[in-house]
């Protein structure tokens, strides 16, 4: 099975870093945002072998070098559609019926 906790040089990975600590953030932020660091995630090809949580430098698609802690090896996307919203499931049926009734009545 693929080892998702370690990367080899050249693997496609994601690194995470903190751009600004809370104390260094902009002054006009809402309290909830001001209390959090500004964090950044960037993907690229690993320069060296590393384990998740290790410091690692990657080479990005534009050829930049970005250093952070290894957060994911071969990162993917898992967003989806999910279940239909029950509030919407009858909309198509009902509106088609209304259009048909309007046309039948000579509208």
């Amino acid at each position: 099975m693929e080892d998702t906790t370690r990367c080899a040089p050249g693997d496609w990975v994601e690194v995470e870093s903190v751009l600004l600590e809370p104390a260094d953030r902009a002054t006009n932020l809402p309290e909830d945002t001001a209390a959090q660091p500004l964090r950044m995630w960037v993907k690229g090809f690993a320069r060296t072998a590393a384990a998740v949580g290790d410091e690692l430098t990657v080479e990005t698609m534009t050829g930049r070098e970005v250093t952070g802690t290894l957060s994911e090896v071969n990162p993917g996307y898992f967003h989806t559609f999910g279940k239909p919203a029950p509030e919407l499931t009858a909309v198509g049926r009902d509106l088609r019926a209304r259009v048909a009734a309007y046309r039948k009545a000579g509208g």
Binding site: H79, F81, L95
Partner: protein, 470 residues
């Protein structure tokens, strides 16, 4: 503020001048006025050239579709003699799935011509996909900076999809947590790489949308014998309204009413970490629409080419639930499964068309692609998972960030008019505040403010007099 942020912001003018390839100072006339038309013309591309550039990039000449089923649905409940003909410009047919390709294509063409090695854009929207796709075709490097996650590292599914598609087109995507400091990081990246700032608000981008207004006026004239009586435009930063209206004018469609439309997200703070994932719309909403219309020069360029208040005849707001309902209706009645941004204008257009006579023609000027994450089911499931109540009922009862109320019948889709007079006052107040205390507007300033607020000198003078008394 950190030394790092201060240091980069102090060099903002110098970095942006190089990154935009243009010195905006040449257009300034006073602390208030600048020569807008000179700025728009400075890139030197004619509309014909823009159309040629876009066609070569797989952009433009999208289908204009009449929506006969939706029109009949509206007529089934409109007052007798009412129910305008409804049309849509299927902008999802562009290369990367939205009208934003029109904006990106011109910036990328200019970047290539001027010899930049790459482009950078700060956007969590379709513009990122558009820039990434056009950059790939032009063999340019591309960095997209996105506000993608809240502090829990939870991403709005629509934005996660935008991250994915940008990476699919070979862009480097820099994902950040919530906060306006995204801009200072973009400056650092521009400084580090020497790339072009493909700002959404540059003249390139806005000129690129003029082809859309021009095309739809020509196509409607061919189809119905006249330009449309109304064009409904989803409004956020102002580019869509501005470019479309300018294109309509170029086509001679001077009597077409330009109606901007946004989703009402009043009460939610756009820089709030907790509000970030309590909204089901990442753009096309009042959280951008109102501040950008009332102060366009808050953008990442010295002067914003997108000046929506200059062009809008009406500004309508709709609720999140109404847009989701219309999204479902459009798929089931018209075979068009499209994303939320364009459907914001569609919801407003359904309300508008109901009140117009049958011989009126209403064009919704964009659609966008949909899919995993962007889809309305995904959005509603995410809203529920983040504690937002979703229910069927009267959409006027919805509270942004707390509840999404989906209409039970199409009659319940009722857009609200936003008070343009209030927006004009707010704009003039902002312009005076930015000019500095004690600055007395000249007659040239008054003329500029009248044009920029789509009003007249007398109205502007009345606003200024009222502000002095207040």
């Amino acid at each position: 503020m950190a030394g790092r942020t201060e240091a980069i912001l102090a060099r903002k003018g110098e970095i942006m001048k190089r990154a935009l390839g243009m010195d905006y100072a040449q257009f300034e006339r006073s602390p208030i006025a600048f020569d807008y038309e000179a700025m728009m013309a400075a890139h030197g591309y004619s509309l014909d050239e823009i159309i040629r550039i876009q066609l070569a990039g797989g952009v433009g000449k999208t289908p204009l579709l009449e929506l006969r089923n939706l029109t009949d649905l509206i007529r089934s409940y409109a007052e007798p003699g009412h129910g305008a003909r409804l049309f849509v410009k299927d902008e999802a047919a562009n290369m990367a799935g939205s009208f934003k390709d029109r904006r990106a294509s011109i910036s990328i063409h200019a970047a290539k011509e001027k010899g930049y090695a790459g482009v950078i854009a700060a956007t969590s929207g379709n513009y990122g996909a558009a820039v990434s796709s056009q950059a790939a075709r032009a063999s340019l490097n591309c960095i997209i900076v996105q506000e993608a996650f809240d502090s829990r590292h939870v991403g709005q599914p629509e934005i996660i999809e935008k991250s994915r598609i940008c990476e699919a087109f070979g862009a480097e995507v820099v994902q950040l947590t919530v906060g306006p400091e995204l801009f200072s990081h973009m400056l650092e990246l521009l400084d580090e790489t020497g790339y072009l700032a493909a700002s959404l608000y540059s003249a390139f981008g806005i000129s690129g949308i003029e082809s859309l207004g021009w095309e739809l006026a020509e196509e409607m004239t061919a189809l119905t014998g006249a330009p449309p009586t109304h064009v409904v435009v989803t409004h956020a930063g102002g580019g869509n309204t501005t470019g479309t209206a300018r294109g309509l004018r170029r086509a001679g469609a001077t009597s077409t009413q330009v109606v901007s439309a946004s989703v009402d997200l009043s009460g939610l703070h756009m820089a709030s970490d907790t509000d970030f994932n309590r909204k089901s719309f990442t753009t096309g909403h009042t959280g951008f629409g109102v501040p950008f219309a009332t102060w366009p020069d808050r953008a990442d360029v010295p002067r914003n080419a997108a000046r929506a208040l200059r062009y809008m005849d009406r500004y309508l707001t709709v609720t999140q639930g109404e847009v989701f309902y219309v999204t479902e209706a459009m798929a089931k009645l018209e075979g068009l499964e499209r994303g939320p941004s364009g459907n914001t204008a569609m919801a407003a257009a359904m309300s508008l068309a109901r009140d117009l006579p049958r011989d009126a023609t209403v064009v919704v000027q964009e659609t966008e692609y949909t899919g995993a994450g962007k889809h309305h089911w995904a959005q509603l499931n995410f809203a529920r998972a983040n504690g937002v109540e979703v229910r069927a009922g009267d959409p006027t009862e919805s509270v942004p960030g707390k509840s999404i109320v989906i209409p039970e019948r199409p009659e319940q889709i009722r857009a609200k008019d936003f008070d343009l007079g209030k927006m004009r006052r707010s704009y003039v107040r902002n312009a005076l505040a930015h000019a500095g205390e004690g600055y007395a507007p000249t007659s040239e300033d008054i003329e500029f403010l009248a044009a920029d607020t789509h009003s007249d000198a007398e109205s502007v003078e009345a606003i200024i007099a009222a502000l002095k008394e207040a």
